[in-house]
């Protein structure tokens, strides 16, 4: 099953929730949650796949103020496995209650740092043996990183201020390579034409895709043409 491409859809809460449900399915998790903090717009966004009773309880208790999976993880550059978090008062308070709602404390949080002091946190959890968890994480962590940035960028650019700030800034090299893709050249061809390795071509394409909030290169080419950044074909 393919992940919903957030770039093409109207930005509504239902779309983000559907995205998280698909992340949960695709990566074999029990739950997925996103929290985004945008100091420029003074807004906090939260979308989760948790049941409504836990959502309500979490809010009523003000857990978002103390939840260490948010407050500690946002200061890391790498995904934080919750096993790394100190089992302090705050952790116990949140996870004692979580346990009563049938939720486990095996999970990880991927921190995303945006360019304007904005921070996004994509968390996933799964109740399974720690061996199974380790294997699953090493298998999906790269894709989860991409999903975290994809939802974060989309949420941050959903308001008017964000649309201006999050204007995709592609380098001349990235545009040159996208133009060659639009002309039908393969990564290997482009590497040969520009005298760079095909992995360097791939890195520029990856960067272009993410700047254009696209999940595939074809979408990135379409959007670059739509924005007048490159010529069609």
């Amino acid at each position: 099953m393919d992940i919903v491409d957030l770039g093409t859809l109207p930005k509504t809460e239902a779309v983000y929730s559907a995205f998280l449900l698909q992340v949960r399915e695709k990566f074999e998790m029990d739950h997925a949650a996103y929290a985004g903090i945008n100091p420029a717009a003074g807004a906090i966004h939260g979308y989760v796949t948790y049941a409504d009773d836990w959502k309500q309880h979490y809010q009523q208790q003000g857990f978002h103020m103390i939840d260490p999976t948010l407050h500690m993880s946002r200061r890391s550059i790498a995904p934080v496995d919750w096993s790394r978090l100190e089992r302090n008062k705050e952790f116990k308070r949140v996870f004692c209650d979580a346990h009563d709602f049938g939720l486990c404390d095996q999970g990880l949080t991927i921190p995303v740092r945006g360019p304007y002091g904005d921070v996004g946190l994509l968390s996933v959890t799964r109740d399974c043996s720690s061996e199974e968890w380790r294997k699953l994480v090493s298998h999906v962590i790269s894709d989860l990183q991409s999903m975290a940035v994809h939802i974060h960028d989309t949420v941050m650019s959903s308001d008017q201020l964000g649309q201006i700030l999050y204007h995709p800034a592609l380098s001349a090299r990235e545009l040159e390579i996208l133009q060659w893709v639009a002309a039908g050249k393969s990564q290997q061809d482009i590497g040969d034409i520009l005298l760079i390795s095909h992995r360097t071509v791939e890195v520029h394409l990856r960067s272009s895709r993410e700047k254009l909030c696209a999940l595939t290169t074809a979408q990135a080419v379409g959007r670059a043409i739509g924005r007048g950044l490159i010529y069609p074909g």
Binding site: S76, A78, P115, S171, T200
Partner: protein, 284 residues
């Protein structure tokens, strides 16, 4: 051996981080002549206040012999800002699965030119293995790293050649700087491991790293005598100030304090205190 220090565990490793900032002052300030800010003998910039991750290499005696700093390319990082010359003013690469590494340095004073465990070559390879494996575990596929041509040659010689470069080589202080691309694939790490003969897990746990560092760097027992006489409380305090001075300026201030003590301390005793040796490492 390698320890990864970030915002979550840095409170445990102030001593190691201070040693790393001093190493950076010697390498980037003195040896490479970059325009870096050095205070109290430590090189610390704005990006150090953004909770980066440090991959730090310790030798068998717990000394910091190599270090590098990692930041996400999705947020503030050096290529987007202070190193924009390298990219000729172009926007930098931005990706969830690419990190930027900067301030890659190795202690060329403490380490030798051979291939043994105390060599520049070994420390560089171990640090590369540590940073590539740390990044890969985090789901990172590539690293864009700002280095000087000497480090570029070291990478090539240790079977760890960059697969590409972005932007151009620009002058920076006494040597130029450039941005190289490295993937975090197992093949690359295996090549470096084979080159350096490193088969073991390079990572220390927090506890192991603390023990290794503290065993050799714990503050020694306070001195009880100096020259002829035992130390009183004031003299002990002054000696502690001398020992903890981080720069010649700070040392000078302690000496001035000693001179300013009005009575109760003889001139010869003052001289004795001021002769207490304190040297500051400076690289040629």
């Amino acid at each position: 051996m390698i320890i990864v220090i970030d915002a979550l565990n840095k409170h445990l490793f102030r001593g190691i981080l201070d040693e790393m900032f001093r190493l950076r002052a010697r390498v980037f300030g003195d040896r490479l002549g970059w325009d870096v800010r050095i205070q109290d003998g430590k090189e610390i910039d704005d990006f150090d206040h953004l909770d980066p991750a440090y991959v730090v290499g310790l030798d068998e005696e717990g000394n910091v012999v190599a270090a590098v700093r990692a930041l996400q390319t999705t947020g503030p990082h050096m290529l987007a800002d202070v190193f924009s010359d390298i990219l000729c003013g172009e926007p930098p690469i931005r990706s969830a699965t690419i990190w930027e590494s900067t301030r890659f340095c190795v202690d060329t004073q403490r380490l030798n030119r051979g291939r043994d465990r105390n060599s520049v070559s070994y420390a560089t390879c171990e640090l590369m293995i540590g940073s590539l494996e740390y990044a890969r575990t985090a789901g990172i596929k590539d690293i864009v790293t700002v280095i000087d041509p000497v480090m570029d040659r070291v990478l090539k010689r240790s079977d760890n050649a960059p697969y590409g470069y972005v932007g151009k080589t620009v002058p920076m202080g006494k040597v130029p700087a450039l941005a190289a691309l490295l993937d975090t694939g197992t093949e690359r790490v295996d090549r470096v491991r084979r080159f350096a003969g490193i088969e073991h897990d390079v990572f220390l746990t927090d506890e192991e790293a603390l023990k290794l560092f503290n065993d050799t760097h714990a503050p020694g027992k306070p001195m009880e005598t100096l020259g002829k006489g035992p130390l009183n409380a004031l003299e002990t305090y002054l000696l502690e100030q001398i020992q903890s001075a981080d720069s010649p300026q700070e040392l000078k201030m302690v000496h001035e304090l000693i001179d300013a003590i009005p009575s109760g301390m003889s001139a010869s005793r003052k001289a004795e205190l001021k002769q207490y040796p304190r040297t500051f490492a400076r690289e040629a």
